[in-house]
């Protein structure tokens, strides 16, 4: 049995009492200095001494990677904590003797066991990362990866497939393969590989696609993540889960999207479509290649999605036509009011209040687009009418402002004319006056 301890390890094995004594002393020394255990970087173990110089890259690179940057190494863990063995032994046969608990290179379930030995231990994890969850192994067992592994499929991803085995970095480290911006690339190392995905199927029996990343890169979510550096934008694991990765099942899609788009999800849940759509939001918005939604999606023309199911004359067709027409009406009204306000502003009128009101009207347009997810024209119309009321108010005030501009211009022109007449009269009068002799 090997128990991980910062700064060293403790091995209990037959015939190794002197080693036990050494490590006990080392562990006691660390315990005696509070706080040092977590902060003390690991010393170079005997394993690294030999492995770094090993002529075979497969045996030297793990040691090199581990000694360069590794979150576990930074916290005092060494090779034996995962691989077992006796690093103080200079003879490699004795160092890897069965009595030392040497495991070699773990694979498959063994990887899960090695990692979860610490990561599922709440007491231990509290010491290093108290906020970190300790149910990764449990979640993994429920994932498609975990289920396949349990069936003996060793091609599936385990902890090290995503996090790496040596040179492991924190999730918040931008160079980590599981950093938000790198997740899509990490997942698609396997999922975009048709050869590797061959034989895997979706629940409906169709072949597992490998174009998810290509599609994702066209999406509004990818644009936010990469274009705007918005790390809160979703990537693979935000919808599929990470350790419990699985495709969202029927009925779960709205909940998945609703994690972020909660208002839309609430509206949609109230709609008749929530009972009909097998794939929830995906029916209209697709999944991986979600583009920016536009008003053109609503309606019955070729660019709309409503026409995919509804045909001329049915209730849905009429509702879609009506909602789109009303939305267009408010858009046109806002544009017209904006032009009016700009015209008055250019003429020198103060139109700050009206600009704010137009912003409020634009908010109603957004609210109407949200309300549209209830697919109830009456509810959408209520919101739009409120917006139209605001634009009408702005139009009236804009017209009043323009009338005021006209009045000012007329008044000032008349005044200017009168002033110039006085100037001419004065000039004539001055000319008629004789200078003093």
């Amino acid at each position: 049995m090997t128990v991980a301890k910062a700064g060293g390890h403790m091995t209990v094995a037959k015939g190794g009492r002197h080693i036990v004594a050494c490590w006990l002393l080392a562990a006691l020394a660390l315990i005696a200095i509070p706080g040092l255990a977590a902060a003390q970087p690991a010393q170079v173990s005997g394993c690294e001494t030999c492995h770094k110089e090993h002529p075979q890259p497969a045996l030297s690179s793990p040691a090199k990677d581990f000694s360069a940057t590794d979150v576990h190494r930074d916290r005092g863990f060494t090779c034996v904590d995962c691989h077992g063995g006796n690093p103080s032994e200079t003879d490699k046969v004795r160092a890897k003797a069965p009595a030392t608990g040497f495991k070699g290179k773990p694979s498959g379930q063994a990887v899960i066991a090695v990692c979860s030995r610490c990561h599922s231990d709440a007491t231990l994890m509290r010491k290093y990362a108290p906020k970190q969850r300790v149910d990764q192994a449990t979640e993994y067992a429920t994932s498609v990866h975990g289920q396949q592994l349990a069936k003996g499929d060793t091609k599936v991803a385990t902890c090290i497939s995503c996090h790496g085995a040596h040179g492991i970095r924190l999730v918040s480290d931008a160079q980590s393969p599981v950093y938000a911006m790198n997740v899509a690339a990490t997942c698609t190392k396997c999922h975009a590989d048709p050869e590797r995905m061959k034989g895997y199927t979706l629940p409906d029996g169709s072949a597992l696609p490998t174009d998810q990343r290509a599609k994702y890169e066209k999406s509004v979510h990818h644009a936010a993540m990469v274009g705007k550096n918005d790390l809160s934008a979703p990537t693979c694991n935000d919808c599929h889960g990470n350790h419990g990765a699985a495709p969202p099942g029927v009925g779960a899609v709205a909940n998945v999207c609703g994690t972020c788009h909660s208002v839309f999800a609430t509206k949609f849940a109230l709609s008749t479509h929530s009972q009909i759509f097998d794939r929830g939001c995906v029916e209209c918005h697709s999944n991986h290649d979600i583009t920016k939604p536009t008003d053109a999606m609503l309606g019955t023309d070729k660019t709309s999605v409503c026409g995919n199911c509804h045909s001329d004359g049915d209730n849905g067709f009429n509702a879609a036509t009506s909602m789109r027409a009303e939305i267009e009406k408010l858009k046109t009204a806002i544009d017209r009011s904006h032009a009016l306000v700009a015209s008055a502003e250019n003429a020198g009128m103060e139109m700050g209040e009206q600009s704010l009101t137009l912003r409020e009207a634009a908010n109603h347009l957004t609210l109407a687009r949200t309300e549209m997810h209830t697919f109830d024209p009456k509810k959408v119309d209520t919101v739009l009418q409120a917006g139209l009321g605001l634009t009408s108010k702005v139009d009236a005030e804009g017209q009043t402002a323009l009338a005021e501009v006209s009045f000012r211009k007329t008044g000032l022109s008349v005044s200017l004319g009168a002033i110039l007449l006085v100037v001419v009269a004065l000039a004539l009068k001055v000319r008629s006056l004789k200078p003093r002799e």
């Binding site: 009128m349 103060e350 700050g352 001055v430």
Partner: protein, 359 residues
Amino acid sequence: MTEHLFAWLDERLDLSELRAFVAEKSVPKHRHSVWYYMGGITLFLVGVQVATGILLLLYYRPSAGEAYESVKFIVSQVQFGWLIRNVHSWSANLLILMAFVHLFSTFFLRAYRKPRELTWITGVLLLFVMMGFGFSGYLLPWNELAFFATKVGTGIAGAIPFVGDFMVRFLRGGDDVTGATLTRFYGIHVAILPAITTVLLGVHLLFIQRQGMSVPPSVEKREQAGEKIPQEPFFPNYVLHDVMWWYVALAVLAALALFLPWELGTKADAFAPVPAGIRPEWYFLAMFQTLKLIPSHVLGIEGEMLGVLGFSLAALLLLVMPFLDRGAAVGRPSKIITAAAVLTVLYLIIFTIYGYLAA
């Protein structure tokens, strides 16, 4: 009616001296006479500023939280508030322009020569006060452009040797431009500068009335040679002529208020990034642009300090010009001073345009 009123007053106050003064006062008439009216226009614009400024005072609130909103209220809600504010803003600029025209016309006609040295000095001081009005008034609407321009403008005072830091804090009422600066500028704009102006303007006008209009050295030579220079009666000829020019100025003001309404801009925000194109009012632009072009260090002296010292020296030279150009009093004005003045005018025009384009 007017005669009755005058007779009523005359009976009580004995206005015979005033009547005689008005009847006898005359103004020389020659080919340079038109420049006499520049002072009159400037005076008229001062009157416009006082009248419109008092009206704005009725609604303006001098605090960082209310200044912008109160000006917005004036231009959008108060009856004819827009007109008063537009006229006040445009008239302020025309006033400084006319003060410069009046100053340089007086300069080139050598009107500062003995015995009018004190009239010149009060006039130059009045120009500085007018520029102070412009600088302090620019901040009062508390908009973004004015806020940052004042920050830059008051910061320049920091380059004055020995007292620079004190001057900056004195002008700002603290280390930075804040509501305290606004209140301070308001006090300067509506109380301190008007009080100084009243005294200086009173003395300036008194000297002019006491000494009469100066004639250019060329006209004076003709007069000394025995030629009779025509005289224009002050009343009604000159006064009507003056009033005509005032109406012209009023027409220009009305046209500017009509076609180019003065913008209010966006409210000042100390935490907002400095907007592009920050520049002071046009009459400080030549100085501002010069300071920008001076290298950071010249002969071991800080460039900005050198610039501020240079402008201070130029202002001092302008003030004491009658004592530098002593030959002007005997009909031999200095050619070097004339050339320097021409170069100064060219420099001000070119650097103002340059500063405008560069910003």
